[in-house]
Chain length 193, copies 2
DNA sequence: ACGGCTGGCTATCTTCATTAGCCTTATCGC
DNA sequence: GCGATAAGGCTAATGAAGATAGCCAGCCGT
């Protein structure tokens, strides 16, 4: 019996592909095993459990999402950076819906790599908001709001929530532009008095 | 063997309770059967399948969410209505996380009741936005943006995404207030020239 | 009382995650 | 080269869960 030449990396990558194809919630060891051409129990030589595999797919997704966002942010600042990162965020979620869903679904507890990857994403967001001159709790409100905005739009879109015959790209652009204006007003309010 | 006195209504209600307690993704027939005190196959006298049950829980959630939003909106308009409905939306999601998750997860295809319930929610949102004097595609952009905002914040909060030691209520209020301002600016832009 | 529908049940099948244990293939020390 | 050893496949078996078939008791209207 020839060896399949698997590795944890490979299994995680294939699992991510399965998640992208059939949906994060339908990711199963059976599907991964079939895809890589081994019997199901063989996977246990490379992963601890289905839950562990899911966590690793989540980490992979967070890392890739962070990279995409970082790449979009370099060389830009202020509104330009905001728009570019928002675009990259949505683009990643559309290209890799399974991985994207994975980034939200995980425990985030006591997993160093997971915390690291999540922190990297957060850092990009913080860097963008730096350009708006926010202070104190305003920064936290802005981070939360931006994440809510991006995630909300992207996940509703993925769930098929936007059925009206109006350009979805345009709606997204306007949402982001509106938030840009909101951030500016927050900054003004903080520095004015 | 005494009859348990079940009904489709009852099974759906108990399934909703299970979803709220253990999470939408962990809703199982086994858990529902154990909760109502019957054997698993007995449930099939009242529901067609697990998927069908999930759809019905989804409809229940949409209806209740719509009622909560409608109740919050009556007697208010403009910013007041927006803030009140946003509060009701988040409140429902916090009280019934399983049902809330259910409202997003369903197919929405060829199920009349489901479409009806979703339309009721949409109607409340449209009614609120009416007060801002938006026109044409602006209305669609606003609907999508508002849904994205509310859903994004609420689902990130439910996923444990807001860990920083800053008041989450405040962040939500500011996000909603910021969007209120954005809507006003859209309306101005449309009527100005 | 009785015939039929209704709503429980047990038994069985399938799929999937998981564990145990075998056996072959690489690889490393000599 | 060559054998020891670890690693990476496998089959077999267990248990949970969804789904189906078919039995049988209670409740109904006549």
């Amino acid at each position: 019996m020839p060896r399949a030449g698997l590795s944890t990396q490979r299994v995680v990558a294939e699992a991510a592909a399965v998640a992208d194809e059939v949906g994060w919630e339908r990711l199963s060891l059976a599907a991964v095993a079939a895809r890589v051409g081994v019997r199901l129990p063989s996977l246990y030589k490379h992963i601890a459990s289905l839950d562990a595999l899911r966590t690793e797919v989540s980490v992979l997704g967070l890392r890739q999402l962070g990279q995409a966002m970082t790449a979009a942010a370099v060389g830009r600042s202020g509104s330009d950076a905001l728009v570019a990162v928002a675009e990259a965020y949505r683009g990643y979620a559309q290209e890799h819906p399974g991985r994207y869903a994975a980034t939200l679904a995980a425990p985030l507890k006591d997993n160093h790599e997971h915390v690291q990857a999540a922190a990297a994403v957060l850092r990009v967001v913080e860097a963008i908001l730096d350009g708006y001159g926010l202070t104190g709790d305003d920064t936290v409100d802005a981070i939360r709001s931006l994440r809510a905005l991006l995630h909300g739009f992207v996940s509703l879109e993925a769930a098929g929530g936007f059925r009206m015959p109006v350009d979805v790209d345009r709606s997204y652009d306007r949402l982001v532009a509106g938030f840009d204006a909101t951030l500016r007003s927050w900054a003004e309010g903080a520095t004015a008095p």
